[in-house]
């Protein structure tokens, strides 16, 4: 079952970087690339630093895949899958997120 909820308006996002939203008690990092109009969402918790900081990382791409680099120890996480590039045993929750009109909507039911 999928359930989309609006978390904010597009203009609350930061172009080419991330913000953190509180959704049903979860910290969700939402990243926004205006040029391609893409949005990505991962859990905000960096398992290496054990801190809620991923929304503050630099985003970009590595070998064509969109990534965020943790601001603390700089591990890279795939923005689509949450997989860590440096350690394949580590994967953080990635969520479906979309822009509907000007609403940013998220679906927490990831599998």
């Amino acid at each position: 079952m999928s359930h989309w909820q609006t978390i904010c308006e597009v203009d609350a996002l930061q172009a080419n970087s991330g913000v953190c939203a509180l959704v049903e008690g979860q910290q969700v990092a939402v990243f926004y690339m205006p040029k391609s109009q893409s949005v990505f969402a991962l859990h905000n918790y960096d398992p290496f630093a054990k801190a809620n900081v991923l929304s503050r990382g630099i985003i970009g791409d590595i070998k064509g895949e969109p990534i965020v680099a943790s601001p603390v120890y700089k591990q890279h996480f795939n923005l689509k899958t949450g997989c860590c590039l440096e350690d394949e045993t580590v994967k953080i929750p990635a969520y479906s997120v979309r822009i509907d009109q000007s609403h940013v909507q998220i679906n927490l039911d990831y599998d």
């Binding site: 910290q27 690339m33 801190a51 970009g60």
Partner: protein, 846 residues
């Protein structure tokens, strides 16, 4: 003491004696010996080759060749300031001036030489001096202070170096040479004449063919020199540099064989006529030759170590080729410079316009290079030396080696043409094979190679060759030294700097569209952000710049392990009023911040949540504080000592200068962080010699040191310039920093930058001081722009509502991050660790 050990005594702890000790302790046979050394001078071995640096501000400590703790660590007994007076070969004992009596099993004589002073009447007058030890230089400095004119007797290598020293000390300087030309040993007539011309041009008067017969009272000066031809010369100071004589007296007295004109006779194993006694260095006479250079002495030292270890080793003579810069003039001499070999042919190139003279001496069959003389341009030295030393066959027309290449074809000998056995560094006997081995073992920079093989760390003459061997080997191993910044840009940081500057690019998007591909990453974005800031100095949190900033710059604070931040206000020069200190305390208290004095003379406030940063900064700015840029790859602190305002030793106002410099360069973004310090006198309480830019006050103005750092790989700064007034000092620092910012790699501190620079410190001086790239004006303008456009980034931020948006933990809630938990320790808060949760009461922070 282990009595089964034999005793090895070394007489003389000079350059060669010490090289012997360092080679010995690296050899397994060191275990078999108890080692004792007598050192006549009041200090252990120092770098005599660079003795003149003493006049440009280097201290005895800077010149020391002894690694800290060397003697203790290796259990070597050092009798400092104690001269060995007598050797008893029957009893095998040495007796010292201070009465130490030691039995030896093996004895090594490394007593060096003394400057020869011709016995002309008056040679012992008080202003007659020599140039060999630190004490000699101190004496020269003292006499020079009351002198106007100085004469150096002797126009050889050392004499000319001494003349430069006198000239630099401000004396009207003359060189008096007995032979008809300068550097008679190394140069031919035409070479000598050109050198003379150039040196006179610099203001030193040269008198050749002069035989001094008497030194007596002068009329205008302290002394007058009278020559055989009836001429006279008035002078205050007289410096004898008329050759050296081996110190063989102690050997002579115990009956060892010495040469007819002095020198302790040694064989190919450096053994004297007594099988238990070796002699090495300038005191030794091998095959009728005394070698007055370090490299042959070092080779002798290594031969003795090998011989003691029963390894086959021989000293079979040494190359006396030399290359040096005398008063700014390049001079080099290789092998048989005078074409004395049978049937030798010579080729000469003389350029009267550029004042260059080059001559090569070639074997009769034109196949081999026997010798060369270069004056005015010694750039071909390495290549010629390799042809000569390694018997490499000459090209069909040998003169192409000295003719200027008007086309692209260069007469140079690529490193590939050298055999593996070719000696690259003669100071440390490092062959091309040794270098290749080190490269295979992982060395990939000149710095690595220096550390690993020592090549290039002696006289420095081989640096360019070491670099070219390195490059060619890396290329051969298929290690294309990939210098691309990252997958998004096929450029180096330096390339990007130029592109951005020349094309006036101001955004990352623009740059990546024109010169890169993809979206960018956490390597290229901060790098470009830094270059943009260095060039244009725009506010770093402008919407198009903010996403590029590294973790700390992105929030103008240093991120901590739990996702909170630290706050470091600027305290320029470390000077702070009681009121400002109280404010810091109040702010710390109000926001319950952990408060600590940093290693950089200021105060750090830890544990601020992202949403608290603007509130804290509002309080600080209201009280008059500014951002301290602790978060940036930028100027950090200019540390100061208390200086002349208070300190009884202070020579100048170090605090005042530190504050002025910190305020000038604050906010400057650079490839890595930059730290300064200013000390008020040579006691150096501000540790300026451990900084990227260090300044020390002296009686004659400021001394500038550059390229030092602490941290992971500490490096002492190098003395860059002395006697500076404040304006010149700032001019040099402007240029230095701008040049660093333009040409360094990402995250390369000034030390590594300089060490990897071809030509190193000398090159840097030529760019910054002599402006030989013609860049200085641009470099100063680049800096002035940054100085003129400074803004306190925190002030700009809190004054603009829209900038504050990013300082929130949640975009859709005012709650705080519940993962941040503190506990109390020693009366302050710190982040709680998982293990703490059982033992301490967690503190809820409102």
């Amino acid at each position: 003491m282990n009595t089964s050990k034999k005793t090895l005594v070394v007489i003389g702890n000079g350059m060669v004696g010490h090289h012997f000790l360092t080679s010995l302790v690296n050899s397994p046979i060191k275990e078999t010996y108890h080692i004792v050394t007598f050192c006549e001078e009041p200090r252990a071995a120092y770098d005599r080759v660079h003795l003149s640096a003493f006049f440009s501000g280097q201290t005895a400590d800077d010149l020391s060749l002894v690694e800290p703790g060397f003697f203790e660590q290796h259990g070597i007994t050092l009798h400092i300031g104690d001269k060995a007076a007598q050797i008893n070969r029957e009893e095998q004992t040495v007796l010292s001036d201070k009465g130490v009596l030691i039995h030896y099993d093996t004895l090594v004589l490394a007593t060096g030489s003394f400057p020869f002073v011709p016995p002309v009447p008056g040679h012992d007058r008080p202003e007659c001096l020599v140039y060999r030890t630190i004490e000699d230089l101190e004496a020269i400095a003292t006499v020079a202070q009351k002198s106007k004119v100085g004469v150096v007797v002797g126009g050889g290598l050392l004499g000319l170096e001494a003349a430069k020293a006198l000239h630099d000390l401000g004396l009207k300087t003359h060189v008096v040479e007995f032979a008809p030309r300068l550097m008679a040993v190394q140069l031919d007539e035409a070479g000598g004449a050109l050198l003379r011309h150039k040196i006179e041009h610099l203001g030193v008067t040269v008198h050749t063919g002069k035989n001094t017969q008497l030194i007596t009272d002068g009329e205008h000066c302290f002394n007058k020199m009278c020559f055989a031809d009836g001429e006279e010369l008035e002078t205050d100071l007289i410096l004898f540099s008329a050759g050296i004589r081996p110190r063989d007296d102690i050997a002579r007295a115990c009956g060892l064989e010495v040469g007819p004109r002095g020198g302790i006779v040694i064989d190919n194993q450096c053994k004297t006529s007594d099988a238990n006694i070796y002699a090495i260095g300038e005191c030794a006479l091998w095959n009728g030759m005394i070698y007055g250079l370090v490299a042959p002495g070092y080779a002798m030292a290594r031969t003795v170590v090998a011989d003691l270890a029963s390894q086959p080793a021989s000293f079979t003579g040494a190359d006396m080729s030399t290359k040096l810069k005398l008063m700014g003039v390049d001079v080099a001499s290789i092998g048989d410079a005078h074409a004395k070999s049978q049937g030798a042919l010579t080729y000469t190139y003389q350029n009267g316009d550029l004042e260059i003279y080059k001559r090569i001496v070639v074997s009769a069959d034109k196949k081999h290079l026997l010798g060369a003389v270069l004056v005015g341009d010694a750039s071909g030295y390495s290549t010629l030396l390799q042809y000569c030393l390694n018997g490499i066959e000459l090209p069909e027309h040998p003169d192409t080696l000295i003719l200027p290449s008007r086309s692209d074809e260069s007469g140079g000998l690529g490193p590939d043409a050298l055999p593996l056995s070719a000696q690259i560094c003669s100071c440390y006997d490092v062959s091309k094979g040794d270098i290749c081995q080190a490269i295979e073992a992982g060395c990939s920079t000149v710095g690595d190679l220096k550390a690993c093989t020592k090549a290039g760390s002696g006289c420095g003459g081989c640096a360019a060759l070491v670099k070219s061997v390195l490059n060619s080997e890396l290329t051969k191993q298929g290690i294309t030294v990939n210098t691309d910044l990252c997958e998004h840009f096929a450029y180096t940081r330096q390339d990007l700097f130029t592109l951005i500057k020349v094309e006036k690019i101001t955004t990352f998007d623009d740059l990546i569209e024109k010169h890169g591909h993809g979206l960018g990453c956490d390597i290229c974005k901060p790098t470009v952000a830094s270059i943009l800031a260095s060039n244009w100095n725009d506010f770093v949190l402008k919407p198009e710049l903010a996403p590029l900033q590294d973790s700390n710059d992105a929030f103008l604070a240093n991120i901590q392990k739990d996702g909170t931040y630290s706050v470091v206000p600027r305290i320029a020069g470390g000077e702070i009023s009681p009121d400002m200190l109280i404010t810091l305390g109040q702010v710390g208290k109000k926001y319950q911040l952990y408060t600590k004095i940093t290693g950089g003379q200021r105060v750090d406030l830890f544990g601020a949540r992202v949403e608290q940063l603007p509130l804290i900064w509002k309080d600080l700015i209201d009280a008059g504080f500014e951002s301290g840029h602790a978060y940036g790859k930028s100027l950090r602190t200019v540390k100061s000592c208390v200086g002349s305002n208070w300190c009884r030793y202070g020579v100048d106002d170090s605090v005042g200068l530190a504050i002025e410099l910190e305020n000038r360069y604050k906010g400057l973004r650079s490839p890595h962080k930059i730290k300064f310090a200013v000390s008020g006198c040579t006691r150096e309480c501000a540790e300026a010699q451990g900084k990227d830019v260090g300044i020390i006050a002296t009686e004659h103005g400021w001394s500038l040191y550059v390229c030092g750092n602490g941290g992971m790989k500490p490096r002492h700064a190098d003395l860059f310039a002395t006697h500076l007034d404040k304006e010149t000092l700032i001019e040099y620092i402007d240029r230095f920093l701008s040049f660093y910012i333009r040409t360094a790699d990402r995250l390369q501190r000034t030390s590594v930058w300089m060490e990897n620079m071809e030509g190193g410190l000398d090159y840097l001086k030529s760019v910054i001081i002599e402006d030989n790239l013609g860049l200085c004006e641009q470099l100063e303008a680049q800096m002035q722009h940054v100085v003129d456009t400074y803004q306190c980034e925190w002030k700009t931020t809190i004054e603009d509502e829209s900038k504050l948006k990013r300082f929130k933990h949640f975009i859709n809630s005012d709650q705080a991050d519940d993962n941040i938990v503190f506990i109390e320790e020693r009366g302050q808060l710190r982040p709680a660790e998982t293990k703490d949760q059982k033992h301490f009461k967690l503190v809820e922070v409102a």
